[in-house]
Symmetry: C2
Subunit: 341 residues, 2 copies
């Protein structure tokens, strides 16, 4: 057994509590210690990056909301009115909004990172969502943004997203990586009714048929996500990859963010060692993604909003894990008797 | 439908998110709004009371820890070294430690509320754990402590406990209120092995036989808990009752705290309207208590420590519920398009 792992386990076991009594917080503390290579980990400058982009597929009626909502919600983020603003502020998490490809011209003066690859993807019913060149550019941009955060001493980062239509792209990625029929991957997204759900499933099946040959002959992860995905997802995947390379703690949100992780994991298989799964989404496909990743999220409170909200509300639990490891007294320090053998 | 309930639901639905997308945080926001009779609830001076007491039954070998640990852990609380100290500090929750009946003479100068009923209960294998008079005194004291907090404008209170042997008393209460065989109610507590678990079950069965007649002929909740329970549990039940009477939000922790709620509920049936179930304990009987109460806790992260730790780590989620209701923009305020019909 690795010596640090042994020492971390010992440190946890010597705290004034029955063995294992802090449950998953104990595993989390050990994971973070291992990631930071220390018995005394710390969470510095926590950050959530929200990537926003539009989807050509949204024009085919896969979402009950109009595409304009992506840009409107970005402006809501900027003004501080969205759920993610409220939760990030509450838990002292910095928020950066990245325009990865929204179909709207934001004023340059707005506090947004203007990294638009294009004004939304193409409609994947008709052609690949983006070119391989655009995809590589988005992936690299994600990496670059993380390097900048890392230089500012941030060591814990979560990811949120906004993009009308992106639960369709995520379902397509799940179907591809999980080798699952599309009906098993499709969900209600922002709130489709039964009829809308059926239509979404049919449309996504057509998308798969359209790109069947391309997908069958490639194992280039970027070509796969270029065909089916969105700019926000590719940029997020690049960011996740880079954060893991830099041993940052990567906080994973719901269905869309986890689809980006599927992409990143197909490039870096051990990336999950860096990840905390924060929240189980109500979107039905999320459970299947988590099964693929053998992951169990910290929270399951019926949320399905995206934006990184699952990360933001779970973050205090991650802080608790680090805090108990650093701050609790040991049996010896406290003069508390240990268990009888 | 009650007008305030309707208005709260409308306020939640107008926030910039898909309908229902914040899951249980939405129910929680509405519950708190109803409890405080307002569209704009607030959480003021959050507090956790930890009740500590010893159990005569502990001398029969129902716990792997010696009885001295109760007092030692109280001193650990006072010095700030326990898990509950770390988590309460992290989440800005005030902590008060109440000696409800620890078998130790604490120095009067310590920051403890000295409300000792006796130096531990009697061994319920031999006689009732306490007299009815002691039980009434403990219940009244719990009420009094809450009135004092309420006068200081606290409107949200959680309960923790410490008492070697108290998972046995809690199992006895569960068995009584749930009409369940004792084996279905007994768990490993602080960490019994298989043999210890079997022994605990046998001892508790003997306790039940001892008091069978008394329990069969009474429906006085205080007589039941006087026979089987502990001082910390009775004081907690009184405190829960009073907090609910004052429309305070009552945050419920794990197995022991929920056993106290069973007592309080047998006196005030609608008390659960005031309660947030914070954490699902790993102690097996807790699920059965939650089933009786038709309750689903916010968190399930494998903890089984008591002390109010489940309350403390869940509290930020409760804050999130209130914050989104108060701070998020509505579709109209944010200029975001609503769902297509």
């Amino acid at each position: 057994m690795n010596q640090l792992l042994k020492d971390l386990q010992h440190k946890v076991n010597q705290k004034t509590k029955p063995l294992g009594a802090l449950g998953r917080l104990e595993n989390l503390a050990i994971q973070i210690g291992m990631l930071q290579n220390t018995l005394n980990p710390s969470l510095n400058f926590p950050h959530i990056l929200i990537f926003a982009a539009d989807h050509g597929l949204a024009k085919s009626g896969v979402s009950p909301y109009p595409q304009e909502v992506t840009a409107q919600m970005v402006l809501n983020f900027v003004r501080g009115g969205a759920a993610i603003n409220v939760f990030a502020k509450q838990n002292n998490i910095a928020l950066t909004i990245v325009d990865a490809g929204v179909n709207f011209d934001f004023d340059n003066s707005l506090p947004i990172l203007h990294e638009k690859i294009a004004k939304g993807t193409k409609n994947s019913l008709e052609e690949p969502a983006m070119s391989l060149e655009q995809c590589e550019k988005a992936f690299e941009k994600g990496k670059e943004l993380i390097k900048q955060l890392h230089e500012k001493k941030c060591n814990v980062v979560g990811f949120g997203e906004m993009g009308i239509g992106n639960s369709s792209a995520a379902a397509l990625l799940l179907s591809h990586y999980g080798k699952l029929p599309i009906e098993a991957c499709v969900g209600r997204g922002t709130g489709l009714d039964d009829e809308g759900l059926k239509k979404k499933s049919e449309i996504l099946y057509q998308v798969q048929q359209k790109h069947k040959q391309t997908l069958a002959k490639t194992d280039n992860p970027l070509e796969i996500v270029a065909t089916l995905g969105g700019f926000e997802m590719v940029m997020m995947a690049g960011a996740m990859w880079q954060a893991s390379e830099l041993n940052m703690l990567v906080m994973i949100d719901g269905f869309i963010a986890t689809s980006a992780l599927l992409v990143a994991k197909s490039i870096k298989n051990n990336i999950t060692e860096s990840c905390v799964f924060c929240h189980q989404s109500e979107e039905q496909g999320h459970q299947k993604m988590l099964d693929l990743l053998q992951a169990k999220p910290l929270l399951n409170v019926g949320m399905r909003l995206g934006e990184g909200t699952g990360v933001a509300v779970a973050y205090p639990l991650i802080v608790s894990a680090v805090n108990f490891l650093n701050e609790m007294a040991s049996f010896e320090q406290a003069g508390v008797s240990e268990k009888n053998d």
